[in-house]
Symmetry: C2
Subunit: 328 residues, 2 copies
DNA sequence: TCGCAGAACATGTTCTGGT
DNA sequence: TACCAGAACATGTTCTGCG
């Protein structure tokens, strides 16, 4: 008699039995979600990224992505159970990021894909141990692995293709910078630089003000050091960078999805802050969100720096990769 | 790596995982069987006879039919568990027979099907309460419901069609007589007769020896009374009548199947006797099997009687139904 | 090494009760 | 009455141990 003949949002195998735990899912998936939460047996997908989504961990991720939440009547255990969800969300991000790091450190990417091409599968190759990247290559592999990471964040695939391009294009440089900065913070470096030690931006270009370079190298990193931004916080903030409903040229559908995801990840970050910082959780949350400003300023400086470099030493900046030129 | 790519004998949905509990079945069916036995939760099929065989009780019957047995290592409980199986076998027969009785008492069957037609679905109709059968009609409904009963014994469907005809044709009269006799025994009648009281065979036909009639009316019934044959025994013996590997014109395949079924039901009957008669179980078993002789003799007498009647009163025996004339 | 019984675990379906 | 959380039950899959 029900109008809901919809397929389950998670398994799409059974018809949804109704609105269970906050999403339109079938009974099996409802019970599955419940059991994972209660038994707290969250594991990681074996083949991160290339899974057919039929495995347990991926099924659970789909539940989370569908927006399922667990609010048992029994008061008190409430927070505890939602911590499980939070943990799972972060854990998932952590895995995708571990994969990114692996690619960044051990692989190379041949070619010069446009944005449309980037949306397909990216084929990384093993990097010979004796190969040394030059600066340009570092920044390219940093960005391309960053894009790969962003593409793997689950809700991105739910966007229509043009929206995917728009969103990724809007954010990948910010993420690259944020990511390299956090990695430098983790390894206790005081200036932005690639793993081989070459500083960002490329030094010693005649005519470019040292002031600009110092700002680029220091501002964001200093803030990360000051706040002692954890990896988990870094990841959540990264996803929130992506969740910008004001991204230009976004379709209506995209806007709705991005908005819901922003709400979702924002409350996850807030919860995380509350758990780790108790009463000062909200202010921590604010600090983290405002990292966005430091990132944006750094990008602005980088752009200025780039233009100056073009001005003074054009030849060195030839063959800029398409993604940096924002070519679709 | 296994050669066994066979389908499960019970569900034929999964491949058989091996030889489990005595039959080639899949793992699910293995566990299903195990659980039914252990929990002893045997129930009856809702729509006896016309079930798609997907329901629990039918699945369990299929297990039994596939020859599955339960012999747990733990000594002592052995017999107990096999009693569960025995109970289930008898219970199933009981149900089919209850259905037969219902048809026999409350329904009528229009038409004069040949044996080939009888193998399809038999369409019984509600009998108006004010309708009174004449003798011929009683014997027809008795036989046709008997055939319906026999067809529903599970292994019959496993026979090839010609074998089904051969087997049923060979036995349906014996079963009819046996059945009516046991029913008379149950209702404490001393002479074979139909529910309306009309005696078997039809009395008062001029020229037929009373001796013959008395033998027909009494011999089998007397034996049933003497032995106090229970309904359960009646049912098992009935199936064993059917399990005659020497049935003429049986195919090789049919012979093999019938032989295995004979072994199966014979050991069930023996077990039943042992449980109820302990040390005199085997002799009880023998007595029951020898009921076959009384049935056969009665049939012989009936045939003689029939021929005599034809001789003296031909008109009365016109329009004999096809099944009695053994018309395929 | 293999095959199977049984335990343990995972998943799916139906029932129950509160709102 | 309809809806849904959770309990209870039923089914299916994988692991373990033994001969
Ligand atoms: Zn589902
Ligand atoms: Zn997976
Ligand atoms: Zn099976
Ligand atoms: Zn059934």
């Amino acid at each position: 008699m029900k109008v809901i003949t919809q397929k389950c949002e998670v398994c799409s195998k059974h018809p949804a039995s109704g609105f269970n735990y906050g999403a339109c899912v079938c009974n099996s998936c409802k019970m599955f979600f419940r059991r994972v939460i209660l038994r707290k047996n969250i594991t990681d997908c074996e083949n991160e990224g290339v899974c057919i989504s039929k495995c347990r961990p991926c099924r659970f991720q789909k539940c989370l992505q569908a927006g399922m939440t667990f609010n048992p009547y029994s008061p008190g255990s409430d927070l505890h159970n939602n911590e499980v969800i939070l943990f799972a969300i972060i854990n998932n991000l952590q895995h995708i990021d571990n994969h990114r790091e692996k690619l960044f450190n051990n692989c190379l990417f041949n070619g010069d894909p446009s944005f449309t091409e980037v949306l397909g599968t990216l084929n990384f190759e093993e990097k010979p141990p004796d190969l040394n990247y030059i600066y340009k290559e570092w920044s390219f592999i940093q960005s391309i692995t960053g894009i790969d990471f962003l593409m793997k964040i689950s809700f991105v695939k739910k966007l229509e293709l043009p929206d995917q391009i728009v969103v990724i294009k809007n954010i990948f440089i910010q993420f690259s910078i944020f990511s390299i900065a956090h990695s430098c913070y983790t390894t206790k470096l005081s200036r932005l630089s690639f793993p081989n030690g070459s500083e960002i931006p490329e030094p010693n270009i005649y005519g470019v003000s040292d002031n600009l370079r110092i700002r680029i190298q220091g501002r964001l990193l200093a803030r990360l050091i000051e706040l002692k931004v954890s990896k988990q916080e870094f990841l959540l903030v990264s996803v929130l960078l992506l969740c910008d409903p004001c991204t230009p040229n976004l379709s209506d559908h995209g806007k709705i999805l991005i908005t819901s995801q922003q709400k979702y990840y924002a409350s996850a970050l807030l919860q995380h802050c509350l758990i780790n910082y108790q009463s000062s959780g909200p202010s921590r949350f604010t600090d983290l969100l405002f990292l966005h400003q430091a990132i944006s300023s750094t990008i602005d400086d980088l752009k200025a720096h780039y233009q100056l470099c073009q001005l003074y030493q054009a030849s060195n900046w030839l063959h800029t990769k398409k993604i940096f030129l924002c070519i679709d």
